[in-house]
């Protein structure tokens, strides 16, 4: 079997790419996670550590990048806020070690192999990670927005056990939304790793934490379909369409679920409609192609697959 559970990948792939991901959700680490060790030495050759009863502010930056310089300047200006903490500058392998503002006293490590960026799952610069004295992640702050000072302050308050502003700490997210986002991200990673049952459980947890989060509900439906629970998937997509009558991905999902549960006529109608109206109709074409193949209607199957390939080449999903 050359392609293994390729169909499962296919089932999840489009959805993983479809759903907009908040900037912070791209990071591997979330609040409460144990901060990975930093596998590089500082510029003096000394090991770089976090924890040890001291809060650490890790600044992931790229030398020569204006936004990174802006972050360093902003952090330097927050001297009082940072009092009693350890500041570590982790320089990206994509650039030189940046020059620090005179007011910023920090340990500097050049992550030449990108190992620290990888361990922390940092995908953009600049990024700030606050780690408390127990070595746990308190906040991941992407970029250096207008509320950066407030967010860093809230994170350092939280790390020190002082009262803190939850809204600032989470970037305006409610705790439920933050939990849903974390679970959704976990579900995506598990799905990409082929662990469909665990992914489904995480997606359900995300949907339960934030019922208004349509991405989580869609992922639940997709994973139900991928794991063969077509009846449940159908109910899930029907419910989404009740709440969001024109949700295009749910229409295709329902069409596929109906095909799987034997309601072919309605399924084909829905899927054909999706191929006409949905700007991202690849899944609909694919499902119709499989249906026609099952019916030995080869020419129609070929036409659907060709259409799917053409849409994929246009960058559609």
């Amino acid at each position: 079997m050359v392609h293994g559970n390729l169909r499962f990948c296919v089932a999840v792939a489009a959805l993983l790419l479809l759903v907009a991901t908040p900037a912070t959700a791209r990071f591997r680490l979330h609040r409460g996670d144990v901060a990975p060790a930093i596998p590089v030495a500082d510029t003096d050759g000394q090991p770089v550590t976090t924890g040890g009863a001291t809060t650490s502010v890790l600044l992931f930056v790229r030398g020569g990048q204006a936004r990174s310089d802006h972050l360093l300047t902003a952090v330097a200006a927050l001297k009082e806020t940072r009092r009693g903490t350890r500041t570590v500058v982790v320089a990206s392998p994509r650039g030189p070690v940046p020059a620090l503002p005179a007011e910023l006293s920090a340990v500097v490590a050049h992550d030449a192999q990108g190992a620290t960026f990888k361990a922390y799952g940092v995908v953009m610069t600049p990024t700030t990670v606050v780690v408390d004295g127990a070595g746990k992640v308190v906040a991941v702050i992407a970029g250096v927005g207008q509320d950066f000072g407030g967010r860093l302050g809230a994170a350092l308050d939280a790390a020190a056990g002082r009262p803190y502003n939850e809204v600032l700490l989470t970037g305006g997210e409610s705790p439920a939304a933050a939990q849903a986002r974390g679970e959704l991200e976990r579900a995506r990673l598990l799905a990409a790793d082929g662990k469909s049952e665990e992914a489904l459980a995480a997606a359900k947890a995300a949907a339960a934490a934030a019922p208004g989060e349509i991405a989580a509900r869609l992922l639940v439906g997709e994973l139900l379909l991928a794991t063969g629970a077509s009846g449940e998937a159908r109910a899930d997509f029907e419910q989404i369409l009740k709440d969001h009558p024109r949700q295009p991905q749910a229409e295709i999902g329902l069409g596929r679920a109906l095909l799987a549960t034997g309601e072919e006529k309605r399924a084909v109608e829905l899927l054909k409609k999706a191929t006409r109206t949905n700007p991202n109709p690849v899944r609909a074409h694919y499902a119709l192609g499989r249906y026609y193949e099952g019916q030995s209607r080869w020419d129609e199957a070929v036409a659907e697959y060709r259409a799917a390939v053409a849409k994929l080449k246009e960058g559609r999903r």
Partner: protein
Amino acid sequence: MRRLRRWLVWSLVVLLASPGLANGFSRLMAGMELPAVDGESIDGGSVHLSDHTGKRATVVVFWATWSDNSLPALRRLAAYKEAIASGDLGVVSVNVEAQAPTDVERAKVAQVAAAEHLPFPVILDRGLDRFHRFGVVAVPSTILLGGDGRVAELLIGYPLVGRDGFFRHLDELLGKVPKAARPAAKVLPKAAVRLTHLAERLLVRDRHAVALEKLAEAERIAPDFLPAYRLAARIHLAAGDAKAAAAAANRCLATASEDAECLLLAARAQVAEGDGAGARARLAGCVEQHPDYAACLALLGSLEVKGGEATGLDRLTRAVALNPLDPDIQELLGEGRVAAGDPKGGAGALRRAVELRMASRLGGP
């Protein structure tokens, strides 16, 4: 979301318009440093290429249990490795069984590794990340690194003509035989590599004009650096500028007249310009020189099918056997079968093309 869409549009246009980028060792050439090859081994440990380099030679082989030639290649490499002092030769193998290997497939890979007593680690390439990153064109495919950690030779497939030369080169690096008179691989300026990578990143941001400028700069710095020509040709092909694509491919061929991917890109430009006969002649040359280069085989087969020649489908089938994970080749096979009056077979191959394209988006670059 907008950035993602832009990324998808350009990277897909460039990636999918040409089998080359995804499937031609297109980011590698002799003289380059090899990016890190790390990963989880089939027995659960972690493997780092850096633990196996720094010797007189290092070999990285991509293989799969479904590939007919993988086992002979692995056996020869294993026997070779056994006969060499461990400090002299490092070998790392990367299994490219499937996009997301099932437990059964994983067990099969482990079984083969155990049954063959492979004296080197097996990285399971989940998500085919390395397969795509290195642009493996056929399975098996092998990279030979010299003692300086730079690519000394690339072996596409395990061709009858070529594999002995590869092992002869290995003998030379290990000092077992005198060095043959072969042009020394040039040390490529890092700036050219960096500029080409920058161009790739610019494409992601939809800035193809600037990307082409960076590639031109890379060409000026290192006129021998093939990946810059290849990428420029692919960008022009994707943009529908066959003339510019032909120019880039021909500059590449002026540097390396036998480079498989440059031959392919030149042929694609010829097809786009309506010179089917010229393209076929060039592809025939490519297939003769690189019998396991699946992309040349597939395009030639496709053109032959269009010309009503029976050999076309055979070539396409062989190309798919060499690289069943390439959606472009699957698509060409599907269209070839349809054209040859086999819509059932055509539908199957086209379905696979759709599945591969969709699944490959899981990882992304």
